[in-house]
């Protein structure tokens, strides 16, 4: 009954979305406020209905209703409550419903917070969002109904994939989708501007906070996924250039370019067509990511069950939405040219390079991800692309980008006046080089070629981010959230670069063969296997190892890596034992039974790795802080 209610609510939600799109776009077009006014109630109705639908699905999971096929495929009565809820978005159908719900939620937020916008414009924004909602709701109802019944009902379900039974991974899709969906708001703002043929600084000021918050969510979502991969997948890696990882990283790069481009448009009315194009591109990549994961076109560790029919639907949707937007672009963008100027060393110039390098980076990842597909489509055979390709080609545009950022942070608008700031630029660079020498020669051994480059760029960026705020503080000028948020975000990027450099250079790893009582060395650390016992969890039984770790004789801790056997899906999963400290992680995982009482054990020491994710979170917080600046909340002077 509840499932049918959920299904019905979803159908009604689709109708609400149709109303939202129709009235939102037609009302302003025929200039009839009475029609336009239907948009906001339609938006609220859609949100309520999708919430009911999602609620029904959550209820079905919590109540263990195995007559619903989706529940039977992804849950089990022994599954803990938290995971029964997160299983809702554990597979294709439910995750689409989550997408639709988050979209309805963002749309409602725009509806509530758009009091300062002209009514026609706001209606158009909501109308475009309505079109996107229609696409997702229709897709769900037509090809991926999560409420389909199973006849006859099974007594118990097939359980959630054990890989997904984890708190970080429960949070990862909602965060990620919040990011993807948030980019549709920027897209809607862009389309509304193109429809009206007007794009000015006020428009940029409206669009910026929404885009920045979406970007922040995307940052956290990606970081969560990476952190989870690190501690859950058992061999200590955290980024694999897997197609689905790339599918989330590309929109992030473009969204980063977009928020910078919006800054220029807001300040100086420049880069208008760039901003439009980036907004369209960011959302396109989000949709493309959805396509790649669900269509069977690429083989990936992350792929949902592949289905070319679904792939076809998304492709058609992609063509309509993006094709429509690009047509608008070709029609309207030529009208938007501004005649303002800026010098070679101005902030605009740096940001132009910034945007271009970010787009090149995204394009390069795109090429690598799509290469197997393109090669196959053109009959050139199967191509394989792994990290040996992605690592170097990604660094190609990124290293210059970091250097430009460190200098560009000092530049002024229009005139640049970088020569005035020469002192600051030089001393930050000098300090960075000194710190680098200290790290590379003093603290750790075994640097590779790019190690000093990475350290220097990272530290330089951190110091450069702090120069302006400190200078302003000393001159007793106001420190706005926009300024401080920006400083935090850029400094965090620097921290990120430093920590990745450290992890990639100085990680020590060994695979040891140990019997109980034996120990192995990894650098200064000794790993001693002191016990092996059987334990039982709510839906698994496991072999738990007890590993005592000491560093140069001093105790570090006792770690408990496990090898879990999940009953229902009969999968074996490795839970690593990690001692997390700010300076380094000590990582141990159980491998295979080698016979004769010995087990293979992977032991790693990873310096500074926790800063990788901490930096990402700080970067996101920086963005949100900046988005809270009061200037985004003041009423515009029409």
């Amino acid at each position: 009954m509840i499932a049918e209610l959920g299904h019905f609510a979803l159908i009604l939600a689709l109708l609400a979305a149709v109303m939202q799109a129709a009235f939102g776009l037609i009302g302003p077009a025929v200039d009839k406020p009475a029609l336009t006014a239907v948009v906001r109630p339609a938006t609220s109705a859609q949100f309520v209905l999708v919430t009911i639908s999602l609620g029904a699905l959550v209820w079905a999971f919590v109540q263990n209703d195995f007559s619903v096929e989706y529940v039977a495929s992804n849950s089990n009565s022994a599954l803990p409550l938290l995971y029964r809820v997160s299983a809702v978005w554990g597979a294709h159908e439910g995750s689409l419903l989550l997408w639709a719900w988050i979209l309805a939620g963002w749309t409602l937020a725009v509806s509530w917070r758009s009091g300062g916008l002209p009514e026609g414009f706001a209606a158009r924004v909501l109308g475009i969002l309505g079109l996107v909602s229609i696409g997702f709701l229709l897709f769900t109802l037509a090809t991926s109904n999560p409420f389909a019944r199973l006849e006859p009902a099974v007594p118990d379900g097939r359980d959630l994939n054990p890989l997904l039974q984890d708190p970080a991974l429960a949070a990862h899709p909602p965060m990620l989708y919040a990011g993807y969906v948030g980019l549709s708001v920027a897209f809607a703002f862009a389309c509304a501007a193109m429809i009206e043929g007007r794009l000015d600084q006020t428009w940029a000021r409206w669009t910026r906070p929404w885009t920045t918050v979406a970007w922040a969510f995307l940052t956290v979502g990606i970081a969560l996924g990476s952190w989870w991969a690190y501690y859950e997948l058992g061999w200590g890696g955290y980024w694999f250039w897997d197609p689905v990882e790339n599918a989330s990283f590309m929109p992030w790069l473009i969204a980063t370019a977009l928020i910078h481009s919006l800054a220029v448009t807001e300040k100086r009315g420049l880069f208008k067509s760039w901003t439009l194009l980036l907004a369209i591109l960011a959302f396109s990549l989000s949709l493309l990511g959805t396509f790649l994961v669900r269509s069977g076109v690429l083989v990936s560790v992350h792929s949902f069950a592949a289905d070319p029919a679904r792939g076809m639907f998304i492709l058609i949707f992609l063509v309509m939405i993006i094709g429509g937007a690009l047509t608008l672009y070709a029609w309207r963008a030529p009208l938007l040219r501004s005649e303002a100027g800026f010098e070679f060393t101005s902030r605009e110039s740096f940001l132009l390079f910034n945007n271009i390098l970010l787009v090149v980076a995204a394009a390069v990842i795109f090429a690598g991800t799509m290469a197997p597909l393109i090669s196959d489509a053109l009959g050139l055979g199967t191509l394989s692309v792994g990290r040996q390709y992605f690592d170097p080609v990604f660094l190609l545009p990124t290293l210059p980008l970091l250097a430009l950022a460190a200098v560009g942070l000092h530049s002024g608008w229009k005139r640049g006046r970088v020569s005035d700031r020469r002192a600051a630029i030089l001393w930050t660079l000098l300090a960075a080089v000194l710190v680098t020498l200290l790290l590379v020669l003093g603290v750790w051994e075994g640097a590779k070629i790019l190690t000093p480059v990475g350290f220097a760029l990272g530290v330089w960026l951190i110091l450069s981010s702090l120069v302006d705020p400190i200078d302003r503080w000393r001159r007793k000028l106001t420190l706005t959230p926009a300024l401080l948020g920006m400083a935090l975000a850029h400094a965090s990027l620097g921290v990120f670069v430093v920590s990745i450099t450290a992890v990639e250079t100085y990680t020590r790893e060994r695979d040891l063969a140990l019997a109980v009582g034996e120990a192995g060395q990894v650098g200064e650390f000794e790993y001693r296997l002191t016990g092996l016992s059987g334990v039982e969890g709510p839906n698994y039984d496991a072999l738990r190892g007890e590993v005592v770790v000491t560093e140069g004789g001093k105790p570090v801790g006792v770690l408990y890596p496990e090898k879990r056997n999940y009953w229902v899906q009969r999968q074996v999963m490795t839970e690593a034992g990690i001692d997390m400290q700010w300076t380094r992680d000590v990582f141990v995982a159980l491998g295979e039974d080698l016979g004769a009482g010995r087990w293979s054990v992977r032991a790693q020491v990873r310096p500074l790795i926790n800063y990788v994710w901490f930096a990402a979170v700080l970067m996101a917080l920086g963005g949100i802080w900046a988005a809270c600046d009061r200037r985004y909340r003041r009423e515009p002077r029409a």
């Binding site: 396509f291 269509s295 076109v297 094709g323 489509a377």
Partner: protein, 181 residues
């Protein structure tokens, strides 16, 4: 003006590529064999359940198929009946290549389900399989009378696969040089 049409043009190209990708998606999982058109790798392996070894040189001059299987492989169970039918037809001798398996279990399996193979060799460690580029069971190789690998099929053998990919390649002579039993 023209540069504003550029993004649309690029998008169109992308859509075409993706469309082709969807059409070809079902075949995506199969990697073409690196051995096609090359001489079949030679091997000398123990015969399953017997105290002797078998050398692939004794297959020279005859069309034959090598079928890689294991008792641990569910798809092998699925294709087994089809293999029996092929064996009964006498059109193509099947050489069984028992990959990374347990001898007793393999013999049991053949006793219970029937033995379609003229001879079964056991590659317990997987060394010979690497020479053949084997990466997942079941796999079936078709070798011609000059010892060249002409086709490889990954996955269960079905009636359709047999007709279109194997039988269609066999020469039209009425009977192939006799069974190897």
């Amino acid at each position: 003006m023209n540069r504003y049409l550029l993004p649309g043009g690029v998008f169109l190209l992308l859509v075409i590529v993706l469309y082709i990708g969807i059409q070809r998606a079902p075949q995506k999982t199969v990697i073409p064999s690196a051995l096609l058109g090359k001489p079949a790798p030679q091997f000398t392996l123990p015969v399953l359940g017997r105290n002797e070894s078998f050398s692939s040189t004794s297959l020279a001059g005859r069309w034959h198929a090598i079928n890689v299987w294991g008792t641990w492989c569910p798809e092998c169970r699925v294709e087994h009946d089809m293999l029996l039918r092929i064996a009964d037809s006498g059109e193509l001798p099947l050489i069984g290549f028992n990959w990374k398996d347990d001898d007793a279990a393999a013999l049991d399996w053949l006793a219970q389900l029937g033995n379609p193979y003229s001879v079964v060799v056991a590659d317990r460690e997987g060394r010979a399989a690497i020479n053949w580029g084997v990466y997942g069971a079941p796999e079936t190789f078709l070798i011609n009378d000059r010892g060249i690998v002409v086709h490889k099929h990954v996955g269960a053998m079905t009636q359709e696969v047999w007709e279109r990919e194997f039988r269609a390649r066999l020469p039209r002579t009425a009977a192939l040089p006799g069974a190897l039993k």
